[in-house]
Symmetry: C2
Subunit: 268 residues, 2 copies
Amino acid sequence: MDRKQSLFSAMISLARIIKGRPRISPALDGNAMLQTILNRRSVRAFQARSIPEEVFSAIIEAGRLAPSTVNLQTWSFAIFSPETWQQSFSHKIPFGGNRAVIIIADTYRAKQVLNVFPDCPLLEHTVAVMNASLAAMNMNLAAEAMGVSSVMLSETGRTGLLDANYIRTKLNLPAGAVPLMTIVFGYARGAPPPMPPRLPVTQIVFEGEYPSTDRLVMESWLDQMVAGYNISHPGSSFAKQLEVYQRKISQAESDLKEIVFGKNGDID
Amino acid sequence: MDRKQSLFSAMISLARIIKGRPRISPALDGNAMLQTILNRRSVRAFQARSIPEEVFSAIIEAGRLAPSTVNLQTWSFAIFSPETWQQSFSHKIPFGGNRAVIIIADTYRAKQVLNVFPDCPLLEHTVAVMNASLAAMNMNLAAEAMGVSSVMLSETGRTGLLDANYIRTKLNLPAGAVPLMTIVFGYARGAPPPMPPRLPVTQIVFEGEYPSTDRLVMESWLDQMVAGYNISHPGSSFAKQLEVYQRKISQAESDLKEIVFGKNGDID
């Protein structure tokens, strides 16, 4: 592809991102809760304004009341104000957020009284990640319900799975507790960012057997991702972000194996 | 504990379940979306009434628009009507549900064009599970917004992670696609079931370092679980359900290891 073609292709990709909107029947347009869910954005710029204590408590309550496998509630939430975050990590909450919650997939606590997955560490880990993520989404949407925006971080600022051992040390987490992500909460500053390009329904939904992947659709999606990344991540680029991942993943993988399977990493 | 004491203890536990309600500031009582999120229940009895096509499409749209790590959208949704479910699995959708969606943590599709986690299968799996679960919760709450109830199943009726290989065969899933759960959707029949006992905020939320687990609180929670299980799961008991798990987990663990780490299960 020459330069002119590639510029044209980037413009098409940008146009696609900008017109990307939730597609629902007009009959449902009046459903305020549905609109809030479908128009949620990951926000990366927050006002200095504080989140009231009762609003933050209600967000936590949404995490506490999330559904979970066998009601095991395999989650813990490490909560932070700007001051306690600074104390723990010696830098500010990313993006000027006013509160932060580290979502931990926690197989440790429930196991003190009930061992549902003896000698099945991968199953146990998978279930814990699943449940903790359900709680995270519930908290995210409870925040939206109260006009509070958020972003889920798994890398930026050493906030999640890619720095699991760093966080584990800082918080003194026990065996079986895996930090997944930090949700940064705050009141959004500026206009909502555009929706990063989503795959079409036809690529992600199927009836009957799993369909073959449409490479053209996937390549067009990747073009849109690359073109759109700068808009939603000022000061970064998609390629730069991937480089960061490439530098960190090997260590993160071996740390995670040790957390899930124990010191010798024996999976049998 | 003698019989009388144990009956008394069960009554206390039941009373605790029945009075278990969301705890938020009265100032937030008027927030309809927050109330919907906090009062969501896992429903296991559905009316025969059909979910309109546009309502089901909007539920799927909420899954499609969920947030995900690097916007990778590592999820696929296998969708079913009562008829197609019957064709695929030779029995009815559990609990008389009107639609079913199998949530698949899908590392296969995106990797056709972009490999973010080369040689890091556990990290890749964990991220996919996390993202697919965020999508699941988004769909669950979008349904609630439209008056549609649901339940997330990971075992009942061979619907999820504990029967991953069974589902993989039925749907012809490629390597790297892990069925996590089936969400069964429908209009609730009868009164909403009570909230299964949730751990108190003080057990799941912390500031600073991870706190020691309060065994008394955990044991009381387990008592409540056992006592309450029959209410929300007619025809079953907590002990019976655990037995089912014990029978299935070893096979499920070794299947999952093969899916995540490949045939020889080598994690290094």
